[in-house]
């Protein structure tokens, strides 16, 4: 048998259509036929995606126009996440999608800051972060050459799930994906090999295919049938229930996610153009109706469309036989840090350069499973660190502090505490800057610093600190408010009238 000719993807919502778009765009020219079998939606008006910056790169690869996307989905930008403590135990911190400070004497900023702080310099680390400062001031941050020279800055999106899925579906079918809707899908196995031979849809419809993607979410429709091995991550995380709801739009349209720790769980607000999406994660020890009250209290907003689902963190072997599970079918993460679309994206991006070129793909499968497992475990480490290091009050967080910390993460925390260095492994989703924010935010203050910075003269360092803070103040003044920026981007007629064009308007 030759290379795969027909790929069938079973799933729902954004993961299904993102997979269909990516596979069709990348491998359509190679003669691959892509069929999408759409199951009934699993999301409702209270669901959304808090997408990490990486999604923009994938969109660019798909030649998605950002303005049109945000206009159609009523999504918005996000420059990071603010973590606040409603239990009153810990200071807030901002995890920005951008670098902090700038090199001084050609040396990294963090050790300079650790050293200065040891000698009494009072300014917080994140105050040196341009991206965080823009977010706090409600400004979008559009890089100019000076900003690009200063450091890096990036952004993610808050995308309402229903319109985002619908938009991707439209794109997929326009690009040539064949779509079927189905309430019921039965998997037909090849009796000899145990591989998936085809799908039987309700109404007697048949979809054959020689390769399959399972994008059906946590139920993992195909992967379960072929017996993909599953490993529970229940022990790693204190939350097992997730409440979703929506609330009115916040008028100023904040350009970041707001995450608030309560005694029994955490609440996240994801602003977008349509509304504010709300998530509340808690443990099953809290009854659902009590959780709703807690969520109301923490959000201080009127919540609508509330729905509670259980969430069981677990990882499956992603590629089993002739089927690759992506997204939640492969790995259900904890809800913190909003990594669900990132998991989908990782699954697809790793699959492309290993997509079968012949009937024998055992070596590709081994490579894929190894890479994806490693990438997933790195994300789990990042989430685990958030719980294991927390200093919040309440039983939920006390349980979080007991999360098992695996050797790689233990080393990372240990080396950071000792020296302020981030051990950055292969396959990390989160950058060194992300880890610095997380670890410092949870109060891991390094005992020492890279000895190289001892040679920098204190007055030079102080001068640079002042310069950086002034640069940040000056740059923020020039930025448009998030609301204004989004409106401009989503209204082509304004652009046509000669308004200054925001970046990324068209790829």
């Amino acid at each position: 048998m030759s290379a795969v000719q027909h790929l069938a993807i079973v799933g729902r919502d954004a993961p299904l259509w993102l997979a269909a778009c990516v596979m069709q765009s990348a491998l359509g020219p190679s003669g691959l036929r892509v069929t999408a079998v759409e199951l009934p939606a699993g999301v409702d008006a209270a669901d959304g995606h808090a997408a990490l910056p990486a999604l923009e790169a994938l969109h660019a690869r798909l030649r998605i126009d950002e303005g049109r996307l945000l206009a159609a989905t009523r999504g918005a930008f996000t420059l990071g996440k603010q973590f606040q403590d409603a239990t009153g135990q810990a200071a807030p911190f901002f995890h920005a999608y951008g670098s902090t400070g700038a090199r001084i004497d050609h040396l990294e900023f963090l050790p300079q800051w650790i050293r200065a702080r040891r000698f009494g310099m009072p300014v917080a680390y994140e105050d040196f972060c341009l991206t965080a400062a823009a977010a706090r001031h409600g400004r979008m941050l559009v890089p100019d050459p000076e900003i690009e020279k200063h450091g890096f800055t990036d952004y993610g999106y808050h995308l309402p799930a229903i319109p985002y899925g619908a938009w991707l579906k439209q794109l997929a079918t326009r690009r040539g994906v064949t779509a079927h809707e189905a309430c019921q899908v039965d998997v037909r196995l090849d009796a000899r090999t145990g591989d998936i031979a085809g799908l039987l849809l309700d109404g007697g419809r048949q979809v054959d295919g020689d390769f399959f993607i399972d994008a059906s979410g946590h139920e993992a429709l195909l992967s379960t049938v072929i017996g993909a091995a599953r490993e529970s991550w229940r022990e790693s995380f204190p939350a097992s229930r997730l409440l979703t709801a929506y609330a009115p739009q916040i008028p100023s349209l904040p350009v970041y996610a707001d995450v608030r720790a309560g005694e029994s769980g955490w609440l996240a607000l994801y602003p977008n153009q349509a509304c504010t999406l709300v998530e509340y994660a808690f443990s099953s020890e809290t009854p659902d109706d009590v959780a709703l009250e807690q969520a109301r209290h923490l959000s201080r907003m009127e919540l609508q469309g509330a729905r509670v689902r259980s969430r069981e963190p677990a990882r499956r072997v992603a590629w089993t036989r002739n089927c690759v599970a992506i997204g939640e079918a492969a790995c259900v993460f904890d809800a913190i840090h909003g990594v669900d679309l990132q998991a989908v994206q990782l699954g697809l991006v790793h699959l492309l350069p290993l997509f079968p070129v012949s009937a024998d793909f055992a070596v590709e499968r081994a490579e894929y499973n190894q890479n994806v497992q490693s990438a997933f475990e790195r994300i789990r480490d990042f989430q685990t660190a958030h719980y294991a290091l927390n200093r919040y009050g309440g039983a939920f967080w006390a349980r979080g502090r007991l999360s098992p910390v695996r050797a790689d993460l233990l080393r990372k925390i240990g080396v950071f505490r000792a020296r302020g260095e981030v051990v950055h492994y292969e396959d990390e989703t989160f950058s060194i800057a992300d880890w610095q924010s997380l670890l410092l935010g949870h109060g891991v203050l390094p005992d020492s610093w890279d000895p190289a910075v001892d040679r920098s003269a204190p007055e030079v360092v102080q001068g640079e600190f002042k310069r950086i803070l002034a640069f940040i103040r000056q740059k923020i003044e020039w930025q448009r408010s998030h609301a204004e920026y989004v409106q401009l981007l989503c209204t082509p007629s304004l652009l046509a009238r000669g308004e200054r064009a925001p970046r990324n308007q068209t790829q």
Binding site: P29, P353, E367, R411, E421, E426, S448, P451, A452, D454
Partner: protein
């Protein structure tokens, strides 16, 4: 409130010791760290003609070294890659360049486009003709990379130089910047009874030297790390059986290559490293497969100019110490491990060890070594050693020198699983794994995989997006671009003469 300076004692001169001393003197604050290096004129160093990797330029830049002066001082030349002769099969040869082959098109690596063109019958040029660095090697040409030129013509460069002169140069450099040099031979290493840390060294003269932190640059002997602290040796001779080298310099020949040459022979391989004033040669071999005498004769027969002295014999074995940092002692260079110089990694391993050590060093406020930082050093060192090891083994396993016992042996022994998997992936579809840290890059893997005569069964389907006619045109265009770039390059000999030639060479020829 400055604490007492932390006293770092480096044991051993040579490249490792003086590179370490120089970097410490440059990076560390003189009031926070004091530096002593102990070396003995009685103990010779291994220093022969040394070939390096482009990363060495970062090291020289760290010291703010003037490149032309450095070349003059060390009789250095430029290096664009390594030519491997007879490795796959007698008569075959290829270059592993410091640069890319072609360029990414549509995010898809060049080898897939090239293989597709072959399968479509478009008859693309040999892969190496899409590499600027390889084509420059073929013409004995050199020029500095120009980053304003198209990406397809990207390459880097390194140096060949006299390692003994480099060490001497760094010695002058470091001692002028406060490193205290003590002449003497260490005869006893004293440990602290409680901590087990190294506390002081006794020299043959009876002089005692106390220190807080020790760097073992004593070479194969591994006086502190191995002999005293007992860091376990992990043997890799099952994969890399060579255990000896004969080294001999000969006069400079007309063939003034901007690359190192490595020639496979019955019992091992021969290196050839062109310097300004002479050519360094050596034969790395395995005593399991060839006698010392025979190897010596093989080397002498291979020289392309008269030998300048009697060959010197070096003994070694492949492997490394499991803890390169143990207690308050770090091994840098041969004291921590050895990999044969097939890919010029010796100085790179030293450099990487120094850089890791510098960022993880104890501080005067907390002079006791931190277990967590030592572990991190060792983790970094492990992954570097293992990746280089796999890359070296690759040269041996993919050979077709049937009927020669060494080459039959290395072709058939069980491989490390990490390497087996890489070879399978390449064979299936030309896929070359990528890793963030450590050597070697994807381009290097490609060069050696294709160079050793391996050809994937097919290419990645992602390459199919380019229509056939367009692919043909793009390849032609790229080929012409690369050729034009190399046509403009001056000869290697001219660049050296103009830029950084040592005065003594002219004196010698007149």
């Amino acid at each position: 409130m400055p604490a007492t300076p932390l006293h770092i004692v480096i044991v051993g001169g040579g490249s490792a010791g003086w590179m370490c001393a120089a970097a410490c003197a440059q990076v560390l604050h003189p009031q926070r760290y004091s530096l002593t290096l102990i070396e003995s004129e009685e103990i010779g160093t291994v220093g022969v003609g040394e070939a390096t990797l482009p990363a060495l330029r970062d090291f020289n830049e760290l010291l703010k070294m003037d490149e032309a002066q450095f070349l003059r001082e060390t009789h250095g030349t430029f290096k664009l890659g390594i030519e491997f002769r007879d490795w796959d099969w007698p008569g075959e040869h290829y270059v592993h360049p410091f640069g890319s082959f072609g360029q990414l098109w549509g995010g898809v690596e060049f080898q897939h486009h090239w293989m597709r063109a072959r399968q479509l019958g478009l008859q693309p040029a040999p892969l190496e003709e899409y590499s600027v660095a390889v084509r420059a090697c073929r013409r004995n040409a050199f020029d500095f990379p120009d980053f304003k030129k198209p990406r397809s013509t990207f390459y880097g460069y390194a140096y060949h130089f006299d390692a003994g002169l480099y060490a001497a140069f760094l010695r002058r450099w470091a001692t002028a910047r406060g490193v205290k040099r003590i002449e003497g031979q260490v005869v006893e290493v004293g440990l602290d009874a409680n901590s087990g840390n190294v506390s002081k060294l006794t020299l043959k003269s009876g002089q005692k030297i106390a220190g807080d932190f020790f760097v073992d640059c004593s070479g194969f002997r591994s006086l502190l790390l191995g002999e005293k602290l007992g860091s376990t040796w992990e043997d890799w001779t099952q994969w890399l059986p060579c255990d000896r080298a004969w080294a001999v310099p000969c006069e400079r020949s007309v063939d003034f290559t901007p690359y190192t040459r490595s020639i496979a022979r019955k019992g091992g391989w021969i290196w050839r490293i062109p310097l300004q004033h002479r050519t360094g040669n050596g034969h790395v071999f395995s005593t399991r497969f060839v006698s010392e005498d025979e190897a010596r004769a093989t080397l002498l027969a291979q020289l392309d100019a008269p030998a300048l002295m009697e060959p010197k014999l070096l003994k070694f074995r492949a492997g490394r110490r499991l803890q390169a940092w143990k207690k308050n002692c770090v091994g840098i260079g041969l004291a921590s491990g050895f990999l044969e110089p097939l890919e010029s990694t010796s100085l790179f391993l030293i450099q990487k060890g120094i850089q890791d050590m510098l960022r993880l060093l104890p501080t005067p406020e907390a002079p006791q070594p931190d277990e967590r930082l030592a572990d991190e050093f060792n983790r970094s060192s492990d992954s570097l050693y293992e990746r280089i090891r796999d890359f070296l083994i690759l040269h041996y396993v993919a050979n077709r020198r049937f009927g020669e016992p060494l080459w039959d042996h290395v072709r058939t022994y069980p491989l490390p699983e990490s390497l087996r998997h890489k070879l399978d992936l390449f064979a299936a579809r030309g896929h070359v794994p990528y890793y963030k840290d450590g050597f070697f890059s994807r381009d290097s893997w490609l060069a050696v995989l294709f160079g050793q005569g391996l050809m994937p069964r097919t290419y990645d389907r992602l390459a199919d997006f380019i229509p056939t006619e367009e692919l043909s045109a793009k390849l032609r265009e790229l080929h012409a671009e690369v050729a034009a770039h190399v046509d403009d390059m001056p000869s290697h000999a001219d660049v050296i003469a103009r830029y950084g030639e040592a005065p003594m060479k002219r004196a010698a020829t007149t």
